[in-house]
């Protein structure tokens, strides 16, 4: 049992937020909507997880790199953190891609 996986996820979230901050993509672009999307996305993914757990599809592993803390049957503490990371990652890639496309288009016209 260790906090390695949790630490890696938090580091990943930290890196996404650094990118967000540097290029003002998501939370640093519109904090209200970014908060709503992060909450909605995480909650929907969690419901999906719950459905999978209830159906007996998802099974929690017994990894030495996880904390071993369980929030509910088969739902480790790390899972919601991972889902927050997934939402952030999705939105940073998307908003970053829109930014690059807008720039490219601007360059064509120049």
């Amino acid at each position: 049992m260790s906090a390695l996986y949790l630490a890696a996820l938090l580091a990943g979230i930290g890196c996404m937020l650094l990118l967000d901050h540097r290029f003002r993509l998501f939370f640093w672009h519109d904090p209200a909507v970014a908060t709503v999307i992060t909450v909605v996305g995480t909650v929907l993914f969690l419901l999906w997880d719950f459905a999978g757990i209830a159906a007996g599809i998802f099974l929690r592993g017994d990894s030495a790199a996880a904390t071993g803390i369980v929030l509910a049957p088969e739902l480790p503490l790390e899972e919601p953190v991972f889902l927050i990371f997934l939402v952030l990652c999705t939105m940073v890639i998307f908003t970053g891609a829109v930014r690059l496309l807008t720039r490219a288009r601007g360059a064509d016209h120049a």
């Binding site: 929907l44 459905a51 007996g56 929030l71 997934l86 990652c89």
Partner: protein
């Protein structure tokens, strides 16, 4: 249900949600093209990341799947159904982002006002009592702890202070203290939105916590919700009823602990009730002391409080007595409870500086009030140490 079916349902839900959001986004022409190209890029990048990192996570043994439930194809170690998660995210979330994209600057400032209105410096004061009470009984982290902690950290404070700021708008205008760390002056155009935001953020949490608990927690949650509304909502305005104001305000901080205890299924023994009583006295003292600085503005606005009714000096001394009683109550609890009596001392010293305060210079107690706000963090630290001792003892 098998994983392919579950994955398809997830993607379908995201697709429907995404299309609805897209209709609201009203994007056309090159902006629409750019949106979907960016979504495609997002899907490609996320799929690549999923293939690599999902395989690593499965390889590391963080989770596994019932082999019977899978369709079969794997990419790396990742079952193909796992790619439904990033696909659904990319379909739904950017569409939501686009739907809300209008009104940028104004909303950023509104959001800032919402956050300010919920008093972020005080968030922990309600989340900590819940978390500590729950954890001390169950001794393990579970979803109820996480949900309850988040509830009492943000939505609860948004509702409590948001309702307060809406119904206090008139009197706050006359009070220069509001608008900073100690309170926010909420623009009238945000009154309706903040009440909606309070309702929408509180209701799901209250439902979830009710599902987790039994009748005792339902009573505690009902008291909690009533105290949040009754303190300032028009018609009830407990904050303007002397003594009831201090009692309600203290309830705001003690009830999260009671909710935590009932959810954890705690037995309300004598010592536990004594600890709660001490906490309650502390909260009443805190409210009464805080009301002194507002005597001037409150009287001008025709608002009653414990302090406007019994006067600055009597209120300061009452607060001192209540804090002392809280300390004495802790002395009567089993070890290591008596250590917590020490926590009362800095409050007594801070309050003693106002022993001879008059109604005329009551505004000057703001200095002591600011010290009080920071003192709470120090007390939280001490209380945590004592709880850790208790944890290790039993």
């Amino acid at each position: 249900m098998s994983y392919p079916v579950l994955a398809l349902i997830g993607v379908a839900v995201a697709l429907v949600g995404g299309v609805i959001a897209w209709v609201f986004a009203r994007r056309a022409g090159s902006a629409a093209a750019r949106h979907w190209v960016a979504v495609a890029i997002t899907v490609v990048v996320l799929f690549a990341l999923t293939a690599v990192f999902d395989s690593i996570m499965i390889g590391a043994g963080f989770f596994s799947y019932d082999p019977e439930a899978l369709a079969g194809p794997l990419i790396g170690l990742a079952p193909i159904e796992d790619f439904a998660y990033p696909l659904a995210g990319a379909l739904l979330l950017p569409a939501l982002w686009a739907a809300f994209a209008r009104g940028g600057e104004e909303r950023v400032s509104a959001f800032r006002q919402f956050v300010l209105s919920s008093r972020p410096v005080s968030w922990i004061n309600t989340a900590f009592p819940f978390g500590a009470a729950y954890l001390m009984v169950t001794r393990e982290i579970d979803w109820v702890l996480v949900v309850g902690f988040l509830y009492f950290l943000i939505p609860y404070n948004l509702a409590m202070y948001g309702i307060n700021d809406v119904f206090d708008y008139e009197s706050d205008l006359a009070n220069p203290r509001k608008g900073g760390m100690e309170g926010a002056l909420l623009a009238p155009r945000l009154h309706r939105p903040i009440l909606w935001a309070s309702l929408l953020t509180n209701a799901p949490f209250i439902v979830l916590l009710s599902l987790a608990g039994g009748p005792a927690s339902w009573v505690a949650l009902a008291v909690s919700t009533f105290a949040v509304i009754a303190y300032s909502a028009k018609g009830l305005r407990f904050k303007e009823r002397p003594f009831l104001d201090s009692i309600t305000s203290s309830t705001h901080f003690v009830i999260p602990a009671v909710v935590g205890l009932t959810l954890a299924g705690a037995e309300f023994t004598g010592p536990l009730v004594l600890v709660l009583a001490a906490f309650f006295l502390w909260g009443m003292a805190a409210h009464a002391f805080g009301a002194i600085q507002d005597i001037g503005p409150d009287r001008e606005a025709g608002i009653h409080s414990i302090a406007t009714v019994i006067g600055a000096r009597a209120t300061a001394r009452l607060a001192l007595v209540l804090w002392a009683l809280a300390g004495v109550a802790m002395l009567a609890t089993p070890w290591p409870g008596p250590l917590a009596a020490v926590i009362a001392v800095p409050y007594l010293l801070n309050c003693a500086s106002s022993w001879n305060v008059t109604d005329a210079n009551s505004g000057s107690t703001n200095v002591a009030w600011r010290r009080f706000i920071w003192l709470n963090y120090f007390s939280g630290f001490l209380a945590t140490l004592i709880l850790i001792m208790e944890w290790n003892l039993s």
